[in-house]
Symmetry: C2
Subunit: 434 residues, 2 copies
Amino acid sequence: MNTHDPARVPETYAPQTPQSLPGLLANVAVIRDLLGGAPERWVVEEVGDGNLNLVFKVRGPAGGIAVKQALPYVRLVGESWPLPLTRAHFEHLALVRQARHAPGMTPAVLHYDADMALIAMELLEPHVIMRRGMIDGIVYPSFAEALSTFAAATLFHTSDLAMAAADKKVLVADFAGNTAMCGITEDVIFTEPYMVSDNNRWTSPQLDDLAASIRGDSELKVAVSRLKLKFMSSAEALIHGDLHTGSIMVTQTDTRIIDPEFAFVGPMGFDTGAVIANLLLNYFSQIGHERAPGARDAYRRWVLSGIEDFWNGFHSRFLARWRHEAKGDAWPAALFDDPVARIHLAGEQERYMAGLFRDTLGFAAAKMIRRILGLAHNIDLEHIADADVRATAEARALMMARTLMIDPDNFRSIEAVTAAACRWNAIDPFGATG
Amino acid sequence: MNTHDPARVPETYAPQTPQSLPGLLANVAVIRDLLGGAPERWVVEEVGDGNLNLVFKVRGPAGGIAVKQALPYVRLVGESWPLPLTRAHFEHLALVRQARHAPGMTPAVLHYDADMALIAMELLEPHVIMRRGMIDGIVYPSFAEALSTFAAATLFHTSDLAMAAADKKVLVADFAGNTAMCGITEDVIFTEPYMVSDNNRWTSPQLDDLAASIRGDSELKVAVSRLKLKFMSSAEALIHGDLHTGSIMVTQTDTRIIDPEFAFVGPMGFDTGAVIANLLLNYFSQIGHERAPGARDAYRRWVLSGIEDFWNGFHSRFLARWRHEAKGDAWPAALFDDPVARIHLAGEQERYMAGLFRDTLGFAAAKMIRRILGLAHNIDLEHIADADVRATAEARALMMARTLMIDPDNFRSIEAVTAAACRWNAIDPFGATG
């Protein structure tokens, strides 16, 4: 696919249907073998519930696969918002790269059809979208270890700490064309929630005042714009770009990361921040999902411990790789090969991680705010039927997000973040006026 | 030229000689018209004194041009150090871009021959290389204003402050292939001077102890490695990449910037730091060029005032553009359109400039150190015949550079930097032991 003309729709492109898909896939030997039987007997189901794409499950007598196809527009909005098919190219490229650095943590790619903007991949069963499981209050004992491993591996190994400078620049260029997807992030995360925009919506009238106060909060707008500039100009590592709990499929023992169509070489904290933001949103949403007040308290504690385990696991895994696998052109080993130099380097590594933590909190805050005031919301909150209860959860999350974004230095550890979440979760956000 | 295979030398490539060049250029109408007369009567002179390329002056009865041709190796070292011809492609691309943002401040490009890695351009006469003029103690009244205008215009207009995000990513990708040139900088500026390397040389034995102490200085090695990582991963703007006084041609009234073959999208402070570093090196070198002690004191004051004028001019010009021409996707105007928000934005702009100043000092320090301990030296210092005098100037510069790199926050203004230079210039660097 010509990634330089993102608006191009190949003449042979056609959105697939359950009827058309078997005919297309029947030509691919690996898929025919995997599904077995006659293609006309394959059972196809369209299961996409995301914002952007078509997703199918295809089953034959011998097995099943998942098929994801990009549409030339944003599915959530419709044809009025065109979106290049090239995102399938970048998703495919990212899946291949991630599999190299974090083997077994992404769905295996079986087939990529560039002209159809279509990726056929391993069917993850009995996995569920982690967000859905968390709404149901299900504990996933292995996710924090897995997700911190994935983040540490993919971010470290695509950074200047691990790569030769020339290879890193090739990686930057390979993903530089994914501008439409970056543009969505720049608009809907870093800009629109802080201004009047037709794309915005929120629980109204309950959050009207809070939404207005955020639009008028100059300090916050400075802080989010600083993050936006970092998103646009910090080529730190190949990031997933959309690492929320809807991009994670889990069982009790397995964790897989899907949907890297927003991937590009950007700031690492955007990925780690996405994880923490979405866990915090789920935490605040529990008030709307528990059968009786306090019924989900144990689950709340598990969510917060998951946040701590994720960050602490990421921190130690990233540093371990830096200590043992730093083959990149940054921080050349030749400069730090004596005991005193190694002590100074270790100090700098902690400083680096502290900076990454600060970025993480800022990006987490931006992602919390956009999910409550912007275009795309989370079902953790959306599925709370009672608007007053939903607004309470959302207001707590918004208020906490503001402190994270304005004063990240007030949070010296992830435990300080989870302790703050506890405190925000105990307040009546409308107490003063209600 | 295929920039994806940088090692490739086109079959038709041939290093030009004064004999061959007229035949090549005779086919270019614009050059034929400009030079006039018969090509076989054109007078060609090879004048290259740089580290990398061939440079010719070609004159005909009607006028003259300059021709720069890349060699497939580093001229300073020889064929044992290959260097891709593609650098001519990036130099041409940068010259075109710089001319757009800073019209009349670069040599006009007349012709680009990709297969020959050759650029024919305006002959700058009676301009001299600024470094040579400064060694002779010549004052250039207009350079600080011109150079600060050039830096502010080219850096601002190729940054996210001025560009649409998608266009900026195209710019990043366009220059991502210039990895060989970036690699030289990464090695000879940020790495080799801090370790034992065959590429290093210094005034010996006078600087032996100081060179060893820098190789053993862990704090400094941490600081320079932090700068190296910033050089590798901060895609702030299209930088010249080699903005020393040897890349500036001047008269009393005109200033032109040449030789952007190191251009890529990197940290702005690398360019502003290069200017300040090379002015400081010239300042310290005056002890070796004055007829009698103190004879160049007025010139020294002019050099320091030039440093101040350059930075202060850059600061105000960059900010003025930000205030009036901020059409980029960063810091969207829609978020800062009320008086209170504008005050907060103005505060953030000062904070941004303070960060850029800090970067500038760090990169300046790195460039001072590499010119004294690394591969490529400056004639400001090299032309001092008396090794003891040269070592005195070099030691002062090294010591000051160390403080700039380790404690940039100690320098809150450019006047604090020039005042420190004055103090370093008054010490006997070998006093303790000599």
